[in-house]
Amino acid sequence: MRSSGVLSASPQVTVAEPLTRRGTDALNDRIAALVIKGSAFVAILALILIFVFIGKEALPVLTSPEVHEEVSLRSLFMPQTPEAEFTWQPVSEHPKYSLMPLLAGTLKVTVIAVLIAIPLSVSGAIFTAEFASPWAREIIKPAIEILAGIPSVVVGFFCLMVVAGWLHSAFGWTYRLNAITAGVGLALAVIPIVYTVSEDAFSSVPQAYRDGSMAMGASNWQTASRVVLPSAMPGVLAACVLGFGRAIGETMIVLMASGNAAVLSFSATDSVRTFSATIAAELGEVVVGSPHYFVLFFVGAFLFILTFVTNLFGHWWVGRLQKKLQGAS
């Protein structure tokens, strides 16, 4: 730094100080930049590694001759034997691996959950955004946050111990635990996501739209259903897609509340078993490197790809519709 001699009134030659000194600060800056860039890459790396390592353990189902003695891609999806067409019996003398009962179970439970959750949470979101008074909002929003914060194992526990009993005594189904009990539980996990994302969508509709509609004499409900809902549609659809993704992958609730019977049926009151529950229930006891082990990873890979595609599609869909909406307004 300059000496205080420069404080004299007349300007004078200042010795050029080098601007190029590189101290430890500059070095730290470079190290920090490297570390931070590296850390950011971890998220990408993690996704790639998940893909690679689940794929690696799933691949023998397609390629290994030893595995093919017990299971092949064909037997996973096609009828196996005339008497046991679609059977998931991995632990037996002659293990049978048909994914069809699991696929049916997953679809059944997911569809039931989504059918319960979407109407409830989307109309709940409309109410909060359009009709509710501020004090009602102050109750609903924290309630949703609390619901979202309940661990899924607790929801599963509650369905198993309480909801199943209620439904059983109300309807007298043959199986205490079935696709509906699991679906109800799953809906509890899906509601907060669908609600939050669609509520955001409703709230982001410009107030001017509502004012314009009201000015033309439309009622509250007409404004909400004909103006707000269509404008918020991309967000609501995204909410549904994300809720669907959540439902497909959720494990603990279906593991505890579905009855876990891998039977191919289309009745909602039969016990079912989903992909995720199958992995959770069986991976603990499986021999690493056995065909069963590889098949479970194959199921995992299937689940991963399914949710991955759902998510990608969801985000792409939102982006596209948003662009359209912006272009229109």
């Binding site: 600060d25 730290n28 800056d29 920090a32 930049a33 850390s39 950011a40 998220a43 990408i44 993690a46 996704l47 590694l49 998940i50 390592f53 689940i54 353990e57 109407p119 949470s121 109309s123 709940g124 109410f127 509710a132 009602a136 309630a143 949703i144 609390i146 619901l147 914060g149 309940i150 661990p151 899924s152 194992v153 607790v154 526990f157 509650f158 111990m161 309480v162 509890l188 509601i191 609600y195 009622s219 509250n220 409900w221 909400a224 259903s225 992958g249 959720e250 494990t251 593991l255 505890m256 995720s276 959770a280 991976l283 690493v288 479970l296 995992g300 689940l303 949710t307 759902t310 998510n311």
Partner: protein, 302 residues
């Protein structure tokens, strides 16, 4: 005609109110039920003793301890990683850069990967690949790290909670006025000095929020730790990174589904669930409070 549309409007409008009431009611019923049944057996002894007599008596101390140990390890891993990722996206990478787009996409998708898939990944990558590899390299093939262990469970959980931390930190970074950064630069700060002395101190609330939400999520999730380190029943506390451990959520699962005598286990089970719920709520509540403060600041420019 006019009256009919009006009535229909009122009808549908009330339907949406009913939907809201239903959701709130569900929440109240779950909490109320668990609180009523769970409070009966809750005591100091319950929190400080190990399970006894086939989990029909005693307490849940090992599960509480294990959960704390798990989330502590997880936090150590996920906070630096998550904060650095958010800082990279917000402070380092040029806007609209390809890399930011990719990282954001990865975070979004990571957030959507089912918990059970993380469990599979933990088993396939951390245990079978890294753990086995470490055993071969350092322990002469003896089984030390190539099996379920708390460190692998914690790392798996860290990946699962990474998006939570990143998103919360990013929100906090956005709340910091750009002018602070300019002032720091104008006073001769390098980028790292600017981040360390201006950005990070200002973002501490958001980082805390993210961390707490991650801990809350991590202490409740079961699927990722089922195969990567949680033990069915293990009175000994984990003292080493390669030990197994008991986890509250997993303990609930085990007691619910595999107890030899469900009726005898029930009171303990309810109390365990209550403890787990209180733990996650306490964490969530704290996070929500901090986040509300940050949002207020963002809105009113302090």
């Amino acid at each position: 005609m006019f009256d009919r549309t009006r009535l229909a409007g009122i009808f549908f409008q009330s339907l949406t109110a009913v939907a809201c009431i239903t959701i709130v009611a569900m929440m109240v019923i779950i909490l109320g039920n668990i609180l009523i049944h769970g409070i009966q057996r809750l005591s100091v002894g319950f929190l400080t003793k190990a399970p006894m007599a086939g989990m029909t008596s005693g307490g849940i101390f090992p599960a509480i301890f294990g959960t704390f140990a798990l989330v502590l390890l997880m936090t150590i891993a996920v906070i630096p990683l998550g904060v650095a990722t958010a800082v990279y996206m917000h402070e380092y990478a040029p806007k609209r850069s390809r890399m930011v787009h990719l990282v954001r996409l990865a975070i979004q998708n990571l957030a959507g990967v089912p918990a059970i898939v993380f469990g599979l990944f933990g088993l396939g990558f951390f245990i079978e690949f890294i753990g086995r590899g470490m055993d071969k390299a350092f322990f002469g093939g003896r089984l030390v790290y190539g099996q379920p262990a708390i460190i692998w469970a914690a790392l798996t959980m860290a990946l699962l909670t990474l998006p939570t931390v990143v998103v919360a930190t990013e929100e906090a970074l956005r709340a910091i006025p750009q002018s602070y950064r300019e002032v720091a630069y104008s006073l001769g700060a390098t980028r790292w000095q600017m981040i360390r002395r201006v950005v990070l101190p200002q973002a501490v609330g958001g980082i805390l929020t993210g961390g707490i939400l991650a801990i809350s999520r991590g202490s409740g999730e079961v699927a990722p730790v089922m195969f990567t380190g949680a033990a069915y029943f293990l009175p000994e506390l984990p003292t080493r990174l390669h030990n197994q451990f008991m986890e509250l959520g997993y303990h609930v699962y085990v007691m619910t589904t595999q107890s030899p005598d469900v009726e005898a286990t029930k009171p303990i089970l309810y109390s365990t669930v209550l403890v787990l719920l209180m733990l996650t709520f306490l964490l969530n509540f704290t996070a929500i409070m901090i986040r509300a403060r940050i949002r207020r600041r963002l809105r009113y420019g302090r």
